[in-house]
């Protein structure tokens, strides 16, 4: 267990180092510029201005490289510059069929909303869903603000800026006060390998509203290197409750940059679970900002990687106000030459007394060449708080393996049972049974496909 303390996050964005060569960024800049031009006259001026600002942020800094502290373990710039060569084995993505359960389904194909493959947005009750490419006249100020916000302390300003500049589509969702949605909202992102444009979603739960949001990413058809960008801005008004579950099963041609920022007002509750079964490189940024007292954020996640996959979970929990609780429980299974990164930072402000913040990162390293970089950071300025963190990385328990084998369970099956048990905890925290079952099923399928080695 290690503790590292870094300098205060005050003062906004950290220093960005200007890229020495614009080659990697050039095609992205060009595409974004022409996209923004094509939208002129088709969307409000405030959005056009925000897109241009986003593009400028990207032009200034480009893709982050390893000299940027938050990207020390994930060399995105080099990865993107070499990504032509990186596509290899076909993935084992599990398709989550929307028919698997009753949901408000929003299907995005290569980042564009597919109305025909989605639920009818005009007949919803308790919730309003507007698409980014539709008439935005009815948006409330908060939605506009979230849509345009790019200064999130976790996701790099430039990546967020590029997302805003290029986002072709996205769901702008508003659950009305006191409404408890009976069906989950399912944002289903399907990638086929054609031009993929970033998506930008906004979810606002108004006072006392309750909803479940499921996000899935699949991409069986992708063969050529593809960069997928996704941003989700969440705002929970007082007493609102959001269950948010994400599953990623992308082939190795894909790189996914996903940023989630959730703002929690008083007594709001955010429960987020992630299941990552790959992509060549996956960076998931999660930012929790407590804005009112008595709010709770529970983050759990599991990642299972093989081949050369790289999965980076970077979390920043900002306890800016007193009496809030946060927990993080992440479990990783690393095989082959895969690499996991866990960066979990908790900042407790001076007057955020009675903060309760716990963090746990456990990883199974099932190959000598697999690597985990865990960097927990607790930065505490208040004196009456309960905070803890722990990090472990190890192999499967030999005693447990022998116990199972002594009962006649073959080695490979015994390993599978123990790995399943290891990642079960975060997934069991999903309170919606249908989603929990789908996630466990995905883990089982991954284990059947993976050649589990020690």
């Amino acid at each position: 267990m290690t503790t590292s303390t870094s300098k205060s996050a005050e003062g906004g964005a950290p220093i960005r180092i200007v890229a020495s060569s614009g080659d990697v960024e050039a095609p992205f800049l060009e595409k974004a510029e022409s996209f923004i031009r094509s939208r002129t006259g088709n969307e409000p001026d405030w959005l056009q201005r925000a897109r241009s600002k986003g593009l400028e942020a990207f032009r200034r800094s480009g893709f982050p490289h390893r000299r940027v502290e938050e990207w020390k373990y994930t060399d995105l710039r080099t990865h993107i510059s070499k990504s032509d060569a990186s596509s290899s084995s076909a993935g084992h993505a599990t398709q989550i069929e929307s028919s698997a359960f009753d949901a408000i389904t929003l299907t995005f194909v290569d980042g564009a909303f597919d109305r025909a493959a989605s639920s009818d947005l005009t007949s919803l009750s308790g919730v309003e869903v507007v698409m980014l490419e539709d008439d935005l006249g009815a948006l409330v100020e908060r939605q506009k603000h979230l849509l345009c916000a790019i200064d999130n302390p976790v996701t790099s300003l430039s990546i967020n800026g590029l997302n805003l500049a290029q986002a072709r589509s996205g769901a702008i969702i508003r659950v009305l006060p006191g409404e408890a949605l009976s069906k989950p909202i399912h944002i289903r992102s399907v990638h086929t390998g054609a031009e993929i444009s970033p998506a930008r979603h906004v979810v606002v739960l108004e006072s006392g509203a309750r909803a479940t949001l499921l996000e899935t990413n699949t991409g069986d058809g992708v063969k050529e290197p593809a960069l997928i960008g996704q941003s989700l801005q969440i705002h929970l008004e007082p007493n609102a409750e959001l269950s948010h579950h994400r599953s990623v099963g992308l082939p190795d041609a894909c790189t996914l940059l996903s940023g989630v920022a959730a703002h929690l007002e008083a007594e709001a509750h955010y429960a987020g679970t992630t299941l990552n079964l790959g992509a060549a490189l996956l960076r998931q940024d999660t930012h929790i900002a407590f804005q009112g007292e008595g709010a709770i954020a529970d983050l759990t996640g599991a990642y299972l990687l093989n081949g050369n996959q790289h999965c980076d979970q970077t979390i920043f929990i900002d306890h800016a106000v007193p009496n809030c609780e946060s927990s993080q429980v992440f479990k990783g299974v690393l095989t082959d030459r895969s690499r996991g990164v866990f960066q979990g930072k908790v900042l407790v402000a001076q007057d955020a007394q009675h903060t309760d913040a716990h963090q746990l990162s456990n990883a199974l390293l099932l190959s000598e060449r697999a690597e985990l970089d865990a960097k927990p950071e607790l930065e505490i300025y208040a004196d009456d708080v309960k905070c803890s963190h722990g990090s472990t990385a190890g192999e499967l328990d030999e005693d447990a393996l022998f116990y199972l084998r002594a009962r006649g369970i073959p080695l490979a099956v015994a390993k599978t049972l123990l790995i399943e048990a290891f990642v079960r905890e975060p997934i069991e925290s999903i309170k919606e049974e249908a989603i929990r079952n789908i996630f466990m099923q995905q883990v089982s399928e991954w284990l059947q496909n993976a050649e589990v080695r020690t």
């Binding site: 002594a406 009962r407 369970i409 073959p410 123990l418 399943e420």
Partner: protein
Amino acid sequence: MLQIKDLRVDVDGKEILTGLSLDVKAGEVHAVMGPNGSGKSTLSYVLSGRDGYDVTGGSITYKGDSLVDLDPEDRAAQGIFLAFQYPLEIPGVGSMTFMRTALNAQRKARGENELDAASFMKLIRAKAKELNIDAEMLKRPLNVGFSGGEKKRNEVLQMALLEPTLAILDETDSGLDIDALKLVADGVNALRSPDRAMIVITHYQRLLNYIVPDYVHVLAGGKIVKSGDKSLALELEKSGYDAIVAEAA
């Protein structure tokens, strides 16, 4: 059924069993008693095939074939069962899943049909009832939160389910109060049969009041130094290991 001849076993490069011989026939119950460090646990692990127990000499023959090169799961499928001194708690693995996976793996290895979920449930409920085990307990993850007595009874339930031909009970009495010990012993006695042999490994004579052995062996310094009938256990209880070991030397 089981012939161990002049068995020598190294653990971490140190010789723990130094020429152990033992002959066990179907239907017999053998008690192996010995002081701490005499090699009792090593004997149970080398019979069940645990990694790290290197056979450097002698032989183990089970039903006519050598066991030495078999993996633990293959030995289990051939009917060898080790009741653990400290059954492991495995969070996240359900007791039912564990037992059904084990039973079906063994059946498959023997070329028998696997049991479907319904048949398995029926079978396990019946076995649990015979042993007075509350089936509710089996809804929990494997041994998690079980008391010492519950863990040992769960071992006996697994034995009843898997129906081994050779059962090795490693210090089954450790950590049990007298009531729990009786319950466990009743379960074991119910499984005595003319086709099944048992090796009961224990430090104390107490267990043998409840599981009465046909033979008693004293293990010291990695080999059997004295054998006899159940009266040998009583003698040990009275005069202690030192006297018996010294007399045998």
